[in-house]
Every structure is written in C-alpha cells, then in structure tokens.
Symmetry: C2
Subunit: 369 residues, 2 copies
C-alpha cells in the first residue's frame, strides 16, 4: 500500500469503514498487525475474528474509498493536524484499554507522558459562580501536583476547568464533539488556541464534522477513557455529565461529585451520583487521595520485574522472556519468537496494557522495571 | 421492700449504684427479675452474672442509700415527673435493645406507641439559615407521615427540629443532657413546655443535674438509640453531632447527612460522614425510602394478631408484644424484653404451645396469623 501521502492513510480508511465501531475495531486490532492487513483480508479470515459483527465484515470487504481517505489525509497534513493511530506510542494507554477505543485520534497540540495522570472535570454549561469557584479550586490543586485536566471545552464548568489548568501552568486536554478544526462554542477561540499550545485538543471525528448533540455521548467516553477519574461539579438531573459518569463507571474509572446546597437544581445530579456511590469530594486533595494508588507505579524502585501469571499462555511467556536482557524492536520479537507479526502485535499490546512492558519510540519495547 | 413512696424507688436506687453503668445494668437485667433482687443478692450470686464488673458488684453490695432514693422518688412525684423503668411497657423497645440502656428514664410529657417510628435530627448549635431551612423541610416531611422527631433541644438545628415537628402537628422527643426539671438553654422554656404537651422531654439523669459537656456523649446515645436513623444537618468537624452519628452506627441505626456548599465549615462534618458511608439526603422522602422496610408491619393488613388472655402475667404480655412487627430471634427477645434467657425460653415455649407463636428455623419465632 505505497503511494499514499502518509503512512497513516490506511488508518483514515479504517476509521471510515461503515459498520465498524470502536468495539469492532478493537477486535480487529487484536487480530491484524495493521489496518492494511484488515482491509485486504478475505472474508474467510474476517470470519475468524472473534466477535466481529456481520456489518463490520461487510463494510471491510466492500471498502473502496482509498482515494478519498488519502485526500482526507492530505487535508489533515495541510491543516497541521496530528494523527495518532491506535498503535502509536503516543496513543494514550488508558484510552487504548477501553472496550471501544477510536482507531485514531485527530490531535492539535500534543500528548505528553504526563497525561497518563489525568482527571476529567465535567459539569453544567450554565454553571453557578459557586460551581465555577469550586471547579477552579480543584483544577488549581490538580495542576499543582502535575495532573492533566481533561474536559469537553463546553461553556460553563468545562471551560473553567481548562482555563484554570492553563492559568496554573498545568496541562489540559479538550475532547471535542466535532472535528478538531472547528471551535465550538465560538467564544472559546482564545481558549482553544491556548490548549493547543499547552496541551491537546482532540477528537475522533473527521475534520469538518459539526458539533451535534448525538456526538456527545461518544465524545464523553473519551473524556472518561483518558482519565483516572471523573469529577462532576454541577449537574442537573438531565445533564450530559451524568452520562460521562455512567461511562466512567463502565470503564472502571473513579467517579467523584461535588455537593452543593439542597434545593439547587444544579446540585441535584451530583447528589444523585453520591447516593449511587460516587465519592463526595471537596478538594483536589480528596481526589488525589483516592487515585493515589494508581499514581504510584508499584514496580518502580527496587522490586524486580514481576513474572507473568502462570495461567497465561505459552506464547505470552515466550515473548515476555525475550525482554529480560534488553529492549527489542517489534520485528526482532517476531523473528526471535517465531510467532506471526499479528500474534506478536497482540501479545505486546496485552503485555503493555497489563503493565509488563512499556513502549519506547520507534516500535521498541522494554520490560517494566 | 414495702414502705416506699412508690414501687419505683428500687429503680432509683439501682440507677444510683456506683460503678454500675448501662452495660452492667443490662447484664443485671438479664439475670434478675427486678432491682430489689439485684440489690439484695449476695456476692456469690452477683459473681455469677456474666460480664458484670468488679466495681458494679462492689457498688451493689455496698449500696445503702435507700432512704435517699425514696426521698428522691418523693421529689419526682411532687414535681409531676414520670418514671419509666427498663421493664415498663412504655420504655421504648428500640432503646431497650441498645448495649447500654439506662435503668430508668425521667419523663415529662409522655411516650406514645407512635414513637417507635422515630428519626433523630441533630446539627450545629450555630446553624445557618440554610441549615435551618433544610431542617424545617425535613421535619415537616417526617411529621406529615407520622414519624416522631427526636433531638437534643439545643440551640440551632435541634431547636428548629423540635419546633417544626410541633408546628406540623407531629410528635417530638427532646433528650436532655441535664435533669428533666431544668431548661437549657433558658430561652427554650416555651419550646420545652410545648414538647411536654405534644411529646416528651426525657433524661436518664437525676433531677437537678446541671447541663455539662461531659453528659452529652451519653445523652447522644439515647438520641440515636430511640431512633431508626440519625440525620446530621449541619456539623463542623468537631461537632457533637458526629459523636451521635458514630453511636448511631454502633447501634446499627441508619446515618443520614445533608450536604451543603463546599467551603462552608458547617457542612464539613456532614460531608465527612457521607464520605464515610452516611447516606446523602435532600428531603424527608429520601429518609423514609431508606427506613421504609422497618416501618412496614408485616402482620397489619389481613388479620391482626390475637390478644393474649388478660389474666396472663405481665412478662408474657411483654414478650408477645415484641412480635407485633416481625419475627425475632430468641436472643433479640431476651435483649428487648429485659428478661433472663431462662424466663424467655419458658415464655416462648408457653406462647408456642398455646398457639400464639410459631417457631421458625434457627431459634426464631413469629406471631401466628
């Protein structure tokens, strides 16, 4: 598949396959080494991908829009937008682990290793001065300990959260429900520009996609997926923030809520969440206390690399044993293990997600200390 | 032991025995039929009471203040104060079941069968207008469904709770940390008078006892002990309300807390409770929903349980009355009745043979329909 304007064109192609969502994509990613392989696989091989739906298989087999995908890739390059496909080392590891990750992210600005420690702050678009004050106080506290603030760049709490993180010298990620080349709401143009310089504005939606309400639930799964936990600051009972909180729970993220006065409609959603088990928080300290166990890398200092669980398959043990001495390129692993590139890709991903390996630049991997 | 001004003089005597607290008293009550028996028992018999402490035994053996006890009884009668000893059918069953119930209660006004359904409202003495507003709203709601409001008659939330219950035509019980013949704080004199007419002012402390801070924790165990649950409305981090909440948990009562704005010192205690597992509540409905299972009388609808023959002894009536709400384990019956295990076994057997109770698996009994 040469002749494309960029090696990532097949990723654009894959993201445009009809009938293929994040869940189906993840199953493909576990089976094929790269999108080109998936897009050129015969029906017989696609049928062997566990759990891949009929619509997705038909979409893959019928895909023919390579020219359009490459033209899109050209527009992306011209606009100075970064593409981060699922297998890229910059693709956030926590997001990669959710059940329905996007095949690729459109990114303005850039991800940092520090974004592994991210917390989402979401809340009402029509926030009260009280809500904004508490959001500011929490974001200042998170920024001061190096935690990236994730939000949706909406009016109200979202905007306040991004702004405060930036003002405090911290990092922030805005996940949009439109293409990253669009600024919504328009008055957030200056904020958008600041986030691009001091963090990242990201979306899974193609360039030019307009903001629409039906994009927001999907967008919200990325907000929670990127984060260790989600803090709901003010939310009415019908707020989209409650959807984000529900997705966060599905993704095994912590859910935090800030209480307010009984009788204020903006506190009702947060109170309901607390009744359902969300943790009541008053400050960044309360949040950090809860996520602290996840901030520490258990294997960091002295302890030798853990062994793999015994019940894990022989292939995984074989691959992992190769890393006892040094870091390896993915092709070396394939060669040394005698496994197929697809198998190796999948095993390396699993080992990375489980914390046994970490990815280095240039498709190289090393054992976690 | 004749010649006393009142049959309850021995109870006054028992309540004045040095070294005997609520826990020791409960052990005595399980062993002896009445206080006179306990106060005249030889050392050898007292030594057989399981768990009774050395100090309590010495206090019982050395007790000689019968004359003073009788004089006190005279003062009580003259003051028109009611004495409700542990075995009295008016002694609240829920309070009887705690680990350290008082041997007797001094009561102004009177208990009602409705007080079985009681909820305590406690909070800051220096309540905000917000706190008072929510306390009023909750108490109105509780009163409207016939739930008795229990509190400590202190300034602030306590006073507001009693007042609102009375204004709403409901019942209320004030538990004092001084003798029931004292009004503290003095400005609550009119409130005190109203409670005596429309509920009860109670204390376990002898007449004339002054209010003192060290009485309050003991008083608080009665507030929670009388109640199905305790609602903390506003509480600083050092509030006595948090002690009440802790006692409520020990007594297996529900603990509820009303949130407020982050940053308000008066909400900090409530927020801490919620973080520790207290249920966040916004209204009486939230509370009723939680305690509803305890409010339902399973036998109420179709056929009311038959009454025992009038000529049957008081003990049998007392035991049988415990089964009006639900099935009970034999140990619960012992605890709630204040009778000895041997007495309880015998009475349960009689009630079963006469067809008033049926035995369930695991030493549990239920009223026959």
């Amino acid at each position: 598949m040469s002749g494309f304007v960029c090696e990532y064109t097949p990723w654009i192609a894959l993201s445009r396959v009809k009938g293929l969502g994040g869940v189906g994509f993840k199953k493909l990613a576990a089976h094929f080494a790269d999108p080109t392989a998936a897009l050129s696989a015969p029906a017989s091989e696609l049928a062997q991908v566990p759990g891949l739906g009929k619509d997705a298989i038909e979409g893959l087999l019928g895909f023919s829009e390579w020219r359009q995908a490459d033209a899109e890739m050209r527009r992306i390059l011209d606009a100075g937008i970064r593409i981060v496909p699922f297998v890229d080392s910059h693709y956030p590891a926590r997001l990669r682990a959710i059940a329905d990750p996007p095949p690729l992210l459109y990114v303005r600005g850039e991800f940092s290793a520090a974004d592994e420690r991210a917390v989402a702050i979401v809340g009402s678009r029509s926030a009260s001065e009280y809500g904004r004050r508490i959001a500011r106080s929490i974001c200042r506290g998170l920024a001061s300990v190096g935690i990236t603030v994730v939000s949706g760049m909406a009016r109200g709490i979202d905007g306040t959260a991004h702004e405060t993180a930036l003002d405090s010298g911290g990092r922030t990620i805005a996940v949009l429900g439109c293409g990253v080349d669009r600024v919504y709401p328009p008055e957030h143009e200056p904020l958008y520009a600041r986030i691009c310089r001091q963090g990242a504005v990201i979306s899974e939606l193609p360039l030019g996609t307009r903001p629409a309400a039906f994009h927001f639930p999907a967008r919200n799964r990325l907000i929670s997926g990127l984060s260790l936990g989600v803090v709901v600051v003010e939310a009415t009972e019908k707020s989209g923030s409650l959807i984000t909180a529900a997705l966060a729970l599905e993704q095994n993220r912590e859910v935090f809520a800030v209480p307010g006065e009984v009788g204020s409609s903006r506190s009702r959603g947060a109170h309901r969440l607390i009744r359902q088990g969300a943790k009541l928080v008053e400050s960044a300290d309360d949040i950090v206390e809860e996520i602290a166990p996840q901030l520490v890398r258990p294997n960091s200092a002295s302890s030798p690399p853990r062994g793999l669980p015994h019940h894990w398959g022989e292939d995984r043990h074989r691959v992992f044993s190769l890393f006892q001495e040094r870091a390896l390129h993915i092709d070396e692993v394939t060669e040394m293990s005698g496994l197929s590139p697809a198998q190796v890709s999948q095993i390396l991903l699993e080992l990375e997600l489980q914390g046994f390996l970490r990815q280095l630049p240039g498709k190289r991997y090393a054992a976690e200390q």
